[in-house]
Amino acid sequence: MRYSAFKVFLQGLTGNKGWQPMWREPEPKAEYDVVIIGGGGHGLATAYYLAKEFGISNIAVVEKGWIGSGNVGRNTTIIRSNYMLPGNEPFYELSLRLWEGLEQEFNYNAMISQRSILNIYHSDAQRDQFVRRANAMLLAGADAEMADADQLRKELPFLDFDNSRFPIKGGMFQRRGGTVRHDAVAWGYARGADSHGVDIIQNCEVTGINIENGTCQGVQTSRGIIKAKKVAVCVAGLSGRVMSYAGMRLPIESHVLQAFVTEGLKPVIPGVITFGAGHFYVSQSDKGGLVFGGDIDGYNTYAQRGNLPVVEDVAESGMAIMPMIGRARLLRSWGGVMDMSMDGSPFIDKTHIDGLYFNGGWCYGGFKATPASGYCYAHLLAKDVPHSTATEFRLDRFRRGHLIDEKGQGAQPNLH
C-alpha cells in the first residue's frame, strides 16, 4: 500500500478501517540465501538494500523480540556526519546523504529533520580541534560552519553566556545534521524490505550458529533451524553473546547508555546542541519533549537500565548550558546496551568463518549510521568486498595497529 496525503484522506472518510499491516508475519522457511540476525535498524536496512539494490531477496530477518526493540528504538535520534578521521567521515557522510532521500525512497515519513547540530567549544584548544574537524568534513564533501560566541548569542539566546563555569566561546555547526523519528526508521525499512519479499520473523531468537568445516551453514532459533548460505550478524549491543555461538571473542564490551526525555514543551530549541565541557546533548522533538543524553554509565552490562550518578551528571551539564530548563521535568529515562569497541569505531566485515559476516561495534553512534551501515553491509554480503566508504571497519585492524580513534582514548571502551 502506497502512502500519501490522499490515502490518509480517503481512509479518514471510511473510518480508517482499510489500512493494511505494514509487514507480513510469515513463518520461517527452511532455507534462505541470507539470514540476518537482528531486526533492528541496521538489520532491516541491510535486508532492504540487499533486496532493493543488490538483487537478493530470499532473505530472512530474525528478531528475538519485536522489530526495532534494540537501540534504534532507544536513542536520542541524532543524525550527523561531523567526524574527523578518513576511516569514518566518508562513511558517515554517505549515511547522511542516504538519510536525505530516504523518506521518498521508502515512502514513509520518518521525520528526518535537518535542523542542525551544534558542538559548543569552551577553550581555544577546543576551537583548534573543531577547526581541524570542520576542515576534514569539508574536505570529505560534508558541510560545516564555525560560529563565534556573538553569533551563538543571536541564534540561541537561552544558552548561559554570562554565568557559566566554562564560558561558551563558540561552536561548530553542521546544518545538515538533525534528528529523525527513530522508531519510524525501523518501521520504514521493515515495510520496504517486506514489500521486496524479505521475511521478517519476530519473536524468533537465535540460539546457535551452525558451523561445519569452517563454513557457516545457518542458525538455530527458538523456532527451529534455519539454513542459510550467508549469515549476517547485526545485533549491536549483544554482539558478544551472539558471536560467542561462533566461538569468537570480539574487541567489544557491552555498556549501557541512558537517554532521557522531558514533558512536552512548546518548542524553543531549534536543533541539536552539544555541550563541550561535560556530557550533554539535547534536541526537542516534534512532540515537544526535550530529548537528551550524556555519557555511558561506564561498566559492562547487558541490563537496559542505568544508575543515578550518570543521570545527575547529565542534568548538571544540561543546567550548565541552559539554566532555563530547571523547571522542565524529566519524564522518562531509558537505557540501551551498546557495543563499545576498542577505538570507538564500528565493524562491517567478514569473519574467518566462511559465510559468517559481522556488523557491530557501533558504540553510541549507530543510529545515524543506519542507512550507510545497511547499504555497506548489503554491499559486502552481495559482493564479498567492502564498500569503498567502509574499507577500514575491519576486525583485524587492532592487530595491524590501524586505529580509528576519533577521541584518542585508546583501548578502553568506556572512554569512547
Binding site: 473510518g15 560545516a144 566554562f166 518548542p267 516534534d286 537496559q304 551539564s317 543546567m319 524529566l330 529515562s333
Partner: protein
Amino acid sequence: MTQYNRIDGGLIDRSRVLNFSFNGKQMQAHPGDTLASALLANGQKLVGRSFKYHRPRGIFSAGSEEPNAMVQLRSGAYLEPNTKATVVELFEGLSATSQNHRGSLEFDLMAVNDFLAPFLSTGFYYKTFMWPKKFWEKLYEPIIRTSAGLGKLSLQEDPDCYDKGFLHCDLLVIGGGPAGISAALSAGRSGAQVILADEDFIIGGRLNSEVYEIDQMAGSDWVLTAKAELETMDNVRILARTTIYGAYDHGIFGALERCNDHLASTNNKPRQILWRIYSKRSILTAGSTERSIAFGNNDRPGVMLAGSVRTYVNRFGVAPGKQVAIFTNNDDGWRTATDMAAKGVSISAVIDSREIDPRAKISGAGLFLGASVVDTTGRKGIKSITLSNGQTIECDCLAVSGGWNPNVHLSGHQRGRPEWREDIATFVPGKQLPVGMACAGAANGNLTLNSALHDGYDIAGRQMHDLGFEVAKPLTVDAEDESCEITPFWHVKESRKRAWLDLQNDVTVKDIKQSNLEGFRSVEHLKRYTTLGMATDQGKTANILALAIMAECTGKTIPQTGTTIYRPPYTPVPMGAMAGRSRGKDFRPFRLTPSHQWAEQHGAVFVETGNWLRAQWYPRRGETTWRQSVDREVEQTRKSVGICDVTTLGKIDIQGRDAAEFLNKVYVNGFAKLAVGKTRYGLMLREDGIAYDDGTTARLGEHHFVMTTTTANAVLVFRRLEFARQCLWPDLDVHLISITDGWAQYAVAGPNSRGLIRKIADKEYDLSNEAFPFMACKEISICGGTLARLFRISFSGELAYEIAVPTRFGGSLMEILMEAGKEFDVVAYGTEALGVMRIEKGHAAGNELIGQTTALNLGLDRMVSSKKDCIGKVLSQRDALNEEDANRLVGFRPVDRSHQLVAGAHFISKGNQPVMLNDEGWMTSVCFSPTLGHSIGLGFIKRGDQRKGEIVRAVNPIQNSEIEVEIVSPHFVDPEGERLRV
C-alpha cells in the same frame, strides 16, 4: 459565587481563606486544598485542552495520575509548565493559567483539530508530508511544531535553588497509606532505621479519602495517632511531599522532596531536594490507582474517577457536581454513591456493568444493573449520559470506576515484569523484584483495608527479622475488609463515538484497533505507534485499558499481551532538582593557583584549564590587544627573566626501594640510572603504544623521585601508575602520593633567571652552572631557611629554573620574585606566552598529545629504549603505526611571512586537489613568534621529517583561506639548545 461546591467535612482548615487566581480569575479556598479541589470548589470545570484534538478537559483524578488538569503555575522566571493541579498544594497568592490553547481556554482555535480527527488518525504523519522533499523543514515541520508541546518554558534562568542529599536506612517505606504506615510502625517498633516517604503533603493515603474506621475512629484520625507514635521514634523519619521516583541497583532509591513548593516564596532555601536513599530493605506500599472504562465521549469535563470523586467529597469537602451519576464494574464504585449520598449530594444514577444485586440503596438514584454508558453530551462540561438501554440521564458529574491497578511501577524498575491476577483483574508485582524489596497492601494486590494494614505490618516485620532486628508485637487493629468484587469490563462495545483511553495524548479505542490492523501488536509497538502512555501522566490511568483492548483485538489474554517496561521516574522530576547545586559558577569546583590573588591584583586574564584557573596573560596599561601583552611577556623573558606559575602541573611523590625500577616500566626511556640530584624528561605510552603524557622526573634520593605530569593528565597518570603498581607489579616496593596541591611551583626563565634565583636562595647553595647544571635538582632553602625545591629545567628554551615551596608560601614567593626581579625588569607571564615559547622550541603539548599519536609521530621514537620493557612497548611496534609515510611532527612557517597560520588547517601537496583523499596532515599549534617576527606553527604531516624545505598548501576551507607553508624543523629558536646550558 465563591466555593459554591463546598460541602461539610474534610481535612481543610476552614478558619483561614487563601486567595488564588486561575486564568486571572480571583478565587478563594482553604489551607489543605489542592489547586484541583479549590477549582472544583469554585465550580471551575474546564481547566485545559488535550494534546492532539484540543478537546476541553476538566479534572479527572485527585492525584499524580492526573492526565487532564495541567496548568502553568506561577509566572515570570518562576513559570512552571505542565503542573498537575491535583498535586499542587494551595498557597496564598497562587496563580495558575491553563495551557495548550490558541485563543482563550473557552474558545481554542486549535479545536478545529477535533473536527479533522478522521484525517489525523494514529500515525497519519508517517504516511504524508513527504512531498515535495524540501517542504518538510520549511513548511510541514514548522506547522507541526507550532502545535507541539503543552506548557511553555519561561526562557529565563530558573531562579530557585535546589539541593541534594543522602539518606541511609534499614527500611524504606514507599508510600504512607495504611500498609505503609503499619510497615513503618512495625519496623520502627523493632528499632530499625526507617524512612517513610509519601508524595502527598499529608500521609495516610486513601485513609484520608475514605470514611473507613480503624479502632472505632475515623481512618484519618487513626493516621494522626500512628503518625504521632512514629514521630516519637528517633529511628523513624517521615518524608511527606516526597516521591520515591526510581529504584536503582543495590537498594538505592531516588527521591524528590518538594520542601518549599507549597509556599509563595522559597526564601532562598532550596525549592526541592533530590535525595539518594540507601536502603537495606524496602517495602513498596504505594497503593493503587483507579482506572476508567472506555465509552463514547468519556473525556468530557465532569467525567472523573469514582475514587477521586470520593477524595474530593471526603477529604476536601467539595462536591464535584450537584447531580452525580456513577458508572462502575466493581463494588468500590458504589462507595462513591453512598459517601456522596451521605453528604447530601444528589445521585442521579448508579450504572453497574454487572448483573448483580444492588450493593446499596441510594435514595433518588436510578439503578441500572447490567447496563453501561454509551455516550455523553456537554462540550465544556458533561450534561447528560446515554445508557445502553437508550435512556438519557442528566448529570453534571460522572464518576467512573473500572477497578484499581496496584502501583507496581517501582517493582519493575529493574526490569521485573508484573503478573496478572485474574481475581482482581489487574497486574500485581512479579517475583523478580529489586534487591531487598517487598510489596504490601494495595500495591501488592491486597486491595482491602484490614488486609493492607496487616500485610504491611507483617511483611516489614519479616524484613527486619532478616536484618537481625527483633520483631515487634503483632498488630492489633480493628478494621474491616470492605468488598471489592469486580467483573472486568474494559470498554463499551456499543459505543459508536470515540472512546478515550489516554486522555492527554488523545488515544482512543479506534486507535488501538487501527494499530492492530497495521501490525503494531506488540505492546511496545502499540505504545510507540499510537503514543499511548507517553504523556506526562505516563499512562497511569490508560495503559491497562489499552492493553485489554489490544488483547481483545488479537485474541490473546492480557498477560500474553504483556505490559510495557516501567522506567524511572515514577512521576516527572524537575531538571533543576536533578542538577542540584551544580550549576552556574558552581557547576564544577575552581582550583586556584598560589599566585591567583597576586595575578588578580595585577589584572590577569584567566583561562580555564580543567578545573584550574590560570593566568593567561597580564595586560598592562596601554596595551590594547592580547597579542601586545603576550609578545611583551615573551620578549622580556627571552631578553631577561620571566615568572610563570606552573603549580598546576601534576606532581607525584614516588618513594620505595623499587621506585627506579617502577619508573623504568612506566616511561619509554630509562630512569634506573638517573643520578640523585638529576632530572630527566620522560614520555609515557598507553599500553596500546600511543603517547599520552610527558613530563620531568627528578631523583631527590636513592628511593625518592618527584614526577611531574601535564596539568590535564595529572589524575589519569596517577590512576594508571596505581594500576601498574597494584595490578601489574604488585611486588615492587613503590608508593605514590599526589603532592600537586602541596607545592607552589614557578618557572623562572630567561638569561637573568640565575641572578634572580641567586637573590632569594640562601647563600650556602652554589648555583653556578658547574655546581648546578642543566637538569640538576636539589632541596635548598630560600629567604632565610624556608624549604624549597629547585629544578634546573626549561620549557621556554632559556636558562631556566622551576622553584617550588610549600603552598602556604606560594603567594608570598610570587611577590618576592617580582620584587627581587625588579633590577632585571622581571615580567610575569601567562599560559599564552608559555605556549608561544614552547612552540618556538618545538615542544609537544596538549594539541599534539591527543591520544592519537605515537612516539614516532612526535619525533621522540629514539627515546624508546630497546633494552627494556615499558608500558606500550610491544603494541607500539605494530606495522600500521610504523609505516613509511607516518605523520611526523615538524615546524611550519608561511612562505609569505606576513601570513598567519591557522591551527586546524590541513596539508595538501601542491598540485593536489583539496579533498580528503589527498589530506596529508594538519596544523596542531600556531602562534605569532615575537622572536622571529612572524607566524609559526607545529603540525603533523606524512614523512615530515624527510620533507624539510618542501612547500605545501595549508588549506582551511572552513574559513575560506589557504596559504603556502614551508616545512621546517620544529625547533625555531636556539635549535642546538645552547641557551639552556649557559
